[in-house]
Every structure is written in structure tokens, then in C-alpha cells.
């Protein structure tokens, strides 16, 4: 049964009318009163940037914080593919209802119907808004917007700006922010990291930040706090996330009372450039579109020494085509990723590390000609050559799956409010509308939906219907939070251990990747929990953080982040262990059909698992929000 703390606050009534009804019933803040409220926005990616700009336009005082030197660099910028919108400009049968349905199904029936429907509804407003702001989306010769299709859908509904859609959307949101900075309605704090959340009278009232340049700890008070801090993929050490992407803001809010939902739901993308050495710092995604023309294979025998182009047809295993004859190389992300892992586990992996498979364009070049393939993928081939130093027109690409997106995150209700009143969570940082697996071109859509079109309504309702006392940063709660941060710093500096922060991060990443990655099982998850606990103990005895707190000290920044990743990693393993089913990105080897397909358990697990922190010494408590499906029928995904 749904835990009493997890009231989703989904409005009653017909699915199609819920959002309109809710907007009408939400209380408004009088224009003259908006200027009396201050809102903190942490993170300036698509969710934070769009929220900050929009709230400032409405008249609120916004204090925005970002970890980079300018809000224009948030990692939303790296999204390549596109953004979905249910415009049906192609007249190919798309509709709000179809986008809603595809998203629910793609998420393997582990998301909230009402949220997903609202997401599909506002998707059209997002496209309009971004075009109005000057985003140069791709166009047809006639001047109309162009669309392309993406995995998991049968219609063309994806809007794109070359391979840089995320960048263009982010710069749109950023330009809106800059406009409001100029008008004095946004106060921008860059090179700042949120170190703690301040809760007073059970309301989120402020944050403690670190000025990353001077090291100074700062207190900021507000009437509400918005966390827009992205996902936690870097718990794996290697991921496609940016170097500074981390879980600290979310995790410390979790420790102050925000529940963490479905942390084990992570997305592993099948087509990334493989790891090439121990020194590797990050992984780079290659667009999924490559699988439209590339054939995935490994050699049939182990320890193959021939160059790939010299291996004859009969010695190659095109395993996706063999296992999934109807979908072949276009099998969905989770399925393709897992199959690549199995081949490498069998010792058939290629390249110096043996953790890669081939993606071969030989046959499509022969069929369509070099210029056609170059026209479609030229920029991707160039990028590959720049990084790997091999020419994919001549030698097959090497690819391997990598952690890419986290569907889990802080639990929020229909208003995007966490279990702490006043703390709202937007974008990838919340447990979101993607269920157990996110479809392509949906992340940008969700971030902008939350920031532009949802939070302006739900936040005004919160501010208008709650009594929020006057408060200054002299309040004891600020002092306590700041002291907590300072004590942790002192402790880190005091250890003077022998291992670097990265050593621990890599060790954690190894557990996460091996046991909490693409395929999980009970024994492995238990091993990970024990191992990570031990690693956490060692970290707090033997980590070496040089320098002082009063300077630009990157090792200190990293140490705090890794300390939180160690705790999150354990919770992810626990969450995966408790979820005795396979769904979306969560594949438990015990729960599969004889031919390796995921087996969902709707009887026992058609719910959101939201974890409550109960202190360093006690086990976290698992709460449940039951998911009710009234408009779609639960079905099994099949790709054979």
C-alpha cells in the first residue's frame, strides 16, 4: 500500500483534463506580491535555466547557482539527438496521447500516468517557446521544421539542431536567464556548489554553498528551493556525464528528509567509445542513429589476432541479428547493451582491453556508396577518428555500452515537490517521468517541461497556500548546516591518508559497473553492498586531500562528491536487490525468460520505491507509492 508520506497529489478526474483542472485550482501569487518572494534555483541546465528565467519573468527574485564558470556550460549541452514534441507536423499519426503512450511503454510501466500525460501535453509548448527564442532547429527547404524518428517510436516527432540539440536548447534557456540577470531579477552565483540544504520548521528555506574559487562557505536564504542538479551517473566513475556532474546536492537533501526514488534505474547506452586505459576520465557517446546502417559483431573465436577487416564472414558472429532476427541491430538500448556485455564476458571482446564490439559499416558502404554514408554520419566518423585515431570508413568502429542517464532521483509529487515542503526537484534530478527506461529525445523535453511549464504554476500554489515566516541566515539552522560542512572538510584534511580521491572513485565505479550495471543478481548485489561499505570505511581512514579549504581546491571538491557517491552506490545496490523483477534498465538475471528476456512482476512491483534516510548507523527505510494504470494496459515489451 502507498506510504502516507508519498501522496502523489495527482488531481482527480479524467486523465486529459487533470492538468487544466489543477492549474485552475492552484492558488496564484498577486503580481505585486511576487517580488516579496525569493526562490533559490540550484543548477542551470535545461530544467534550472528555464525555471530561473521563467520565475524571474513572473516577478520572483531568483538566486541561481551553477558549478561551472557560467550557466551556459551545464551538461544538458552535450545532448546530441533531439527533443520530442507531439506536433504531428508530419501527419504520420502522432498525437499527445501517442507520445504519452510511447513514454509509458518505453518506461516499462513504472511511471505515473498523470505526470507523463502532462509531459506530452506541454511538449508542444516547448517547441514553440524554443523557436521563439531563436533556436535554429533544422528546417526543410520550404521553411518548415524538420523532424526525424528515434528509437522506441513509429512516428517522426523529434526536433533537432544538427547533432547539437542540447546545446542549442540550453543556450536558448541561458539567453532567457541572461536577459533577466540584466533586469536585476536573477542574481547569478557561478562556480558555486551546494553543500547542504537548510530546513526550518519542516520547510526548505535555504542552502549552504561553497565558493569553489575562494573555498568560502556561504549561506543563502529563500522562500523555496528548486533542485535542478541533474543525474548521478558518475557514481560509476566512468560515464558520459561531465566531470563535475555529481549527486551531492540531491544526496544531502536526501539526508535532510527528501526520499530517494528508484535509485537503481539507470540507463546504459549501447554505442559509446570504449574504455581505452586506466587513466581514462570519461566516456563519449556516439549517436544511436549509427545502428541504422552499422552491423554489430564479434569474432567467433577467442583470442582472435587478425585485423577486423581481414576476418572472413564465416568467422564473424553478428549476434544481434542472430538473437533478435526481426529487430536485429536496432534492438532497444538495454537489450543491445546487455548482449555486448555477454559477448565480452564470453571472452569474445575486441580491442586492447577486450571490452568492445565492432560496429561495421563495410556492407552499407558497399550497398549505398561512401558518399551516402558520409552524408549521414560524416561528423560522427570524424569525432570517432579524433578520439580513437582510426578511420571508421576502413576499419570497423569499436563500441561498448556506457552509463548515460539516471531515471531514479529524488521522489516528487505531481507538483514536483519532494517529501520536504518547499523543496522542489526538476529535470533528471527527480525520479521523473521515464519510469524504468527513458526513450531517446525525452530527457530534454522533460527538463524544459518542468522548468518552463510546470513549476511556475505549482510553485505559486505552494507560496500562496503556505505560511512562510521571515527568516535570516543568522538562524541556528544555517549555522548548524554550515558547521556540518566545515566539520566534514576538517575531517577530510585531517586524514592525511595514502590513497587519492580518484582511487576510491575508481574502486566504487568497479563495483557499480560489475555488480549494479547492465545485469544484476542477488549474489553480486550483496557482494557490492559489503564491498562498498568497506570501501566507505577505508575512504574515511585513508583518503588524501591536499591543500586547505580556503583556496581553489579541486581535490576537496571531489572528495566531498565521492563521499556521497559511496553512500548512494550502496543504496542503489540495495534498491536493485529489493526489486525482484526485471524492468527497463533494471535487469535481474534471476528474472528472465528462457531466451533471456526481462520478466516484470506487476503483481508485487508495480510501484515506486522511495527510500528514507535514517542515519549513518541505521538501515534506510523503503516506502512504496503504488502505480495505478487506468488508461493504458500493462503489456510485455518484445523485440524478437
Amino acid at each position: 500500500m502507498t506510504s502516507s508520506k508519498l501522496d502523489s497529489k495527482v488531481p482527480s478526474g479524467d486523465l486529459y483534463a487533470k492538468w487544466d483542472k489543477h492549474k485552475f485550482e492552484s492558488k496564484l501569487v498577486n503580481p505585486a506580491n511576487k517580488r516579496k518572494f525569493t526562490v533559490i534555483v540550484v543548477g542551470t541546465g535545461l530544467a534550472g535555466g528555464s525555471a530561473a528565467a521563467t520565475l524571474a519573468e513572473l516577478g520572483y527574485n531568483v538566486h541561481a547557482f551553477c558549478i561551472q564558470d557560467t550557466p551556459r556550460r551545464a551538461h544538458s549541452i552535450a545532448a546530441q539527438g533531439g527533443i520530442n514534441g507531439a506536433k504531428n507536423y508530419q501527419n504520420d499519426g502522432d498525437s499527445i496521447k501517442r507520445l504519452f503512450y510511447d513514454t509509458i511503454k518505453g518506461g516499462d510501466y513504472r511511471s505515473r500516468e498523470a505526470n507523463v500525460y502532462r509531459l506530452a501535453q506541454v511538449s508542444n509548448n516547448i517547441i514553440d517557446q524554443m523557436v521563439a527564442q531563436g533556436v535554429p532547429f533544422a528546417r526543410e527547404y520550404g521553411g518548415y521544421l524538420d523532424n526525424r524518428s528515434f528509437g522506441g517510436s513509429q512516428v517522426s516527432r523529434t526536433f533537432y539542431a544538427r547533432g547539437q540539440t542540447g546545446q542549442q536548447l540550453l543556450l536558448g534557456a541561458y539567453s532567457g536567464m541572461m536577459k533577466m540577470v540584466n533586469k536585476g531579477k536573477i542574481k547569478m552565483f557561478s562556480r558555486r556548489e551546494m553543500m547542504d540544504l537548510v530546513v526550518v520548521n519542516n520547510q526548505a528555506r535555504g542552502i549552504i554553498t561553497r565558493n569553489l574559487v575562494t573555498g568560502e562557505l556561504e549561506r543563502h536564504v529563500a522562500d523555496a528551493v528548486l533542485l535542478c542538479t541533474g543525474g548521478y551517473g558518475n557514481v560509476f566513475f566512468l560515464s558520459t556525464n561531465a566531470m563535475a556532474s555529481n549527486v551531492t546536492a540531491a544526496w544531502r537533501s536526501h539526508k535532510r528528509g527528501a526520499y530517494m526514488a528508484n535509485p537503481c534505474f539507470t540507463q546504459i547506452h549501447p554505442t559509446c567509445i570504449p574504455v581505452h586505459g586506466d587513466y581514462q576520465s570519461k566516456l563519449t557517446l556516439m549517436s544511436e542513429s549509427l545502428r541504422n546502417d552499422g552491423r554489430v559483431w564479434v569474432p567467433k573465436k577467442q583470442n582472435e589476432t587478425r585485423k577486423p577487416e581481414e576476418i572472413p564472414e564465416e568467422d564473424r558472429d553478428y549476434y544481434l541479428e542472430r538473437v533478435y532476427p526481426s529487430f536485429g541491430n536496432l534492438a532497444p538500448r538495454d537489450v543491445s547493451s546487455r548482449q555486448a556485455k555477454y559477448r565480452c564476458d564470453e571472452g569474445l571482446g575486441v580491442g586492447t582491453t577486450k571490452k568492445a564490439v565492432y560496429l561495421d559499416f563495410r556492407d552499407s558502404i558497399k550497398r549505398d556508396g561512401l558518399s551516402t554514408i558520409a552524408g549521414k554520419y560524416g561528423n560522427l566518423f570524424e569525432m570517432y577518428e579524433r578520439i580513437v585515431g582510426e578511420d571508421p570508413y576502413k576499419t570497423p568502429m569499436m563500441i561498448y555500452p556506457a552509463v548515460h542517464y539516471t531515471m531514479g532521483g529524488l521522489w516528487v509529487d505531481y507538483n514536483l515537490q519532494s517529501t520536504i515542503p518547499g523543496l522542489h526537484v526538476l529535470g533528471e534530478a527527480n525520479f521523473s517521468d521515464h519510469g524504468a527506461n527513458r526513450l531517446g529525445a525525452s530527457a530534454l523535453m522533460q527538463g524544459l517541461a518542468d522548468g518552463y511549464f510546470v513549476i511556475p504554476y505549482t510553485l505559486s500554489n505552494y507560496l500562496a497556500s503556505n505560511k512562510i515566516d521571515k527568516l535570516t541566515t543568522d538562524h541556528d539552522a544555517f549555522k548548524e548546516a554550515e558547521t556540518r560542512v566545515k566539520l566534514a572538510d576538517d575531517k577530510l584534511f585531517g586524514l592525511k591518508g595514502k590513497r587519492s580521491v580518484d582511487d576510491f572513485h575508481k574502486a566504487l565505479g568497479h563495483y557499480m559497473w560489475e555488480e549494479v550495471g547492465m545485469a544484476r543478481n542477488e549474489a553480486g548485489l550483496k557482494k557490492a553492498i559489503t564491498g562498498i561499505r568497506k570501501l566507505k570505511e577505508e575512504f574515511w581512514q585513508d583518503v588524501n586531500v591536499p591543500g586547505t579549504a580556503g583556496e581553489y581546491n579541486f581535490e576537496l571538491h571531489k572528495a566531498n562528491r565521492v563521499a556521497d557517491f559511496l553512500e548512494l552506490g550502496e543504496l542503489m545496490a540495495l534498491d536493485a536487490l529489493e526489486r525482484n523483477e526485471s524492468c527497463g534498465g533494471h535487469f535481474r538475471e534471476e528474472f528472465q525468460t528462457s531466451d533471456g528476456e526481462a520478466v516484470r512482476n506487476d503483481e508485487s512491483f508495480c510501484h515506486v520505491a522511495a527510500w528514507e534516510w535514517s542515519g549513518e548507523k541505521a538501515a534506510p527505510i523503503r516506502h512504496v507509492e503504488e502505480l495505478k494504470f487506468e488508461n493504458v494496459q500493462l503489456a510485455t515489451r518484445s523485440y524478437k
Binding site: L145, M178, G277, S281
Partner: protein, 264 residues
């Protein structure tokens, strides 16, 4: 793993400076076991790891996405912004472009408008200020007409996209003998001037941005074209030309009357 190939030795001369006011100097480092597959920044990671283990202060440098799109990385490598490989940011430059035994000089971006913070890290917030002066279209959320209401020819949209590809890294400023940000600013003015949505504010935008640029101590453009040569997104000089046209046009045609209030 592939450490067998990690057999290069690199001699680095790196600018170290504790803070904006401290005195800076070049410091020599020798980095062994460099793999040709490493990115330039991964080579710095290896060096920093060694420095931390020796108890020395690691070299501060800006970086984030490490896939050439966020614009955060910013190193002057052997006198070239981002190292001089065509269309490549520092994070995408790989060690296979160097030979074992090479000596490499690494400096921060140097420009009056980019004060130094530490070592190789500089303050590029002047770029935000230029954008604040007008690098936007005032389209309040919720106002927008249907996305297809304004038709934009493909060629125009493509050209706007060429300009919009700017990542705001500042290589153009760092490589310009005048420390000019005209390519950065021109790219934004040009992108928005090409699009119909950008027309209502076009004259005001050009005037305000150029004014802000000059006040922020960026120099003027004297057509060296070094910015175009080093721009990792290969943004062309034609965008500076379009900016100049927009600016000139605006000085003749645009006049904002100072009358208080909006009459509401």
C-alpha cells in the same frame, strides 16, 4: 589495461600562479607513461595524480564535459589556443598528435578582459555580460506562436546554426593580438539577425552588445583572422562582417526615446 602502449615521455612547461595577485612562473614537469590514446587533459590528470601523491599542489585547469561542447577547457598549447588542431578543443586533442620527448608549453588564456584566477583558470564572466546586454530574444515564456508560424528557409536556418555553434570558450579572444571578442559577439548577433524572430530587437541588440564589449576592455577587430583559425567550432569571419553591418545600420536608424513608463 592498455598500459603497454603508454610509453611516451612528455616534457611540460606549465604556467603556475597561485592567485590573480600572486606572481606567476613557468614550472617544468616530466610526465612518463603517456599513452598516445590519452587526451591532453587525461595527461594532465596523470600529472596531477602524481603531484597529489607527492603532496604537491595539483595544477588548476578548467574542464567539464570532455567531449568538446561545453566550452570550459581552455589551454594555450605551444602558443596556440586549444593546441591548433583544426576544429578541436583542448579536451579532444590527443597525445598521438605529439611525439615522445616533445616539450610542450602550456599557458592560460591571456587577455585583459579575462583576469586570471589560478594557474590555467581564468575568469570569462565578461562573456556573460556581453550576452546580458542583448544576446537574447525577449520571448517571455508562454507567449510563443506556433513553431511553424514563421517560415525560415533551410539555408538561412543552416547559416544561423553555423553561428549558434559557438561554445563560448574564449579561444578567439585568447588568440587575437587585440584581445577582441568580436567573433564571439558577432556569432550571436549574426545568428539572431538571420532569424525573423530576432528582427524586432536587432538594432538595439547590436548597439548594446558592442557598447558592452568595448566597456569590458575587449579590443577591436583588425582582421587578423586568428580567431577564425583557432575557433574549435570553425565559426567564420563573415559573422563579424554581418555584425558590423547590423551595427552600422542601427547607428543610422535606431533611436530610443527616453520617456518614462510603459503607459500601463
Amino acid at each position: 589495461m592498455s598500459d603497454a602502449t603508454a610509453n611516451m615521455t612528455i616534457y611540460l612547461k606549465v604556467w603556475r600562479q597561485a592567485s590573480a595577485t600572486a606572481e606567476g612562473k613557468f614550472v617544468d614537469y616530466k610526465v612518463d607513461h603517456v599513452s598516445p590514446d590519452m587526451s591532453f587533459l587525461e595527461m594532465f590528470d596523470v600529472l596531477n595524480d602524481q603531484l597529489v601523491k607527492k603532496g604537491e599542489s595539483p595544477i588548476a585547469f578548467d574542464h567539464d564535459c570532455r567531449e568538446g561542447i561545453c566550452g570550459m577547457c581552455s589551454m594555450m598549447i605551444n602558443g596556440k589556443a586549444h593546441g591548433g588542431q583544426k576544429g578541436t578543443t583542448t579536451c579532444q586533442l590527443h597525445m598521438r598528435k605529439f611525439k615522445s620527448g616533445d616539450a610542450i608549453v602550456v599557458e592560460p588564456w591571456r587577455a585583459k578582459a579575462f583576469p586570471l584566477i589560478k594557474d590555467l583558470v581564468v575568469d570569462r564572466s565578461a562573456f556573460d555580460k556581453i550576452i546580458q546586454a542583448g544576446g537574447f530574444i525577449s520571448a517571455q515564456t508562454g507567449n510563443a506562436p506556433d513553431a511553424n508560424a514563421n517560415l525560415i528557409p533551410k539555408t538561412v536556418a543552416d547559416e544561423a546554426m553555423d553561428a549558434a555553434a559557438c561554445i563560448g570558450c574564449g579561444a578567439c579572444v585568447a588568440s587575437c593580438p587585440n584581445g577582441s571578442a568580436m567573433l564571439f559577439m558577432g556569432a550571436k548577433i549574426s545568428q539572431l539577425a538571420l532569424l525573423p524572430q530576432g528582427q524586432p530587437e536587432a538594432p538595439r541588440r547590436a548597439l548594446n552588445m558592442v557598447k558592452s564589449h568595448d566597456e569590458l576592455l575587449f579590443g577591436n577587430c583588425t582582421n587578423h583572422a586568428e580567431c577564425e583559425a583557432t575557433c574549435p567550432k570553425e565559426i567564420g569571419l563573415e559573422h563579424i562582417a554581418r555584425m558590423n553591418r547590423e551595427y552600422t545600420k542601427a547607428t543610422f536608424t535606431y533611436h530610443e526615446k527616453a520617456r518614462g513608463g510603459d503607459g500601463a
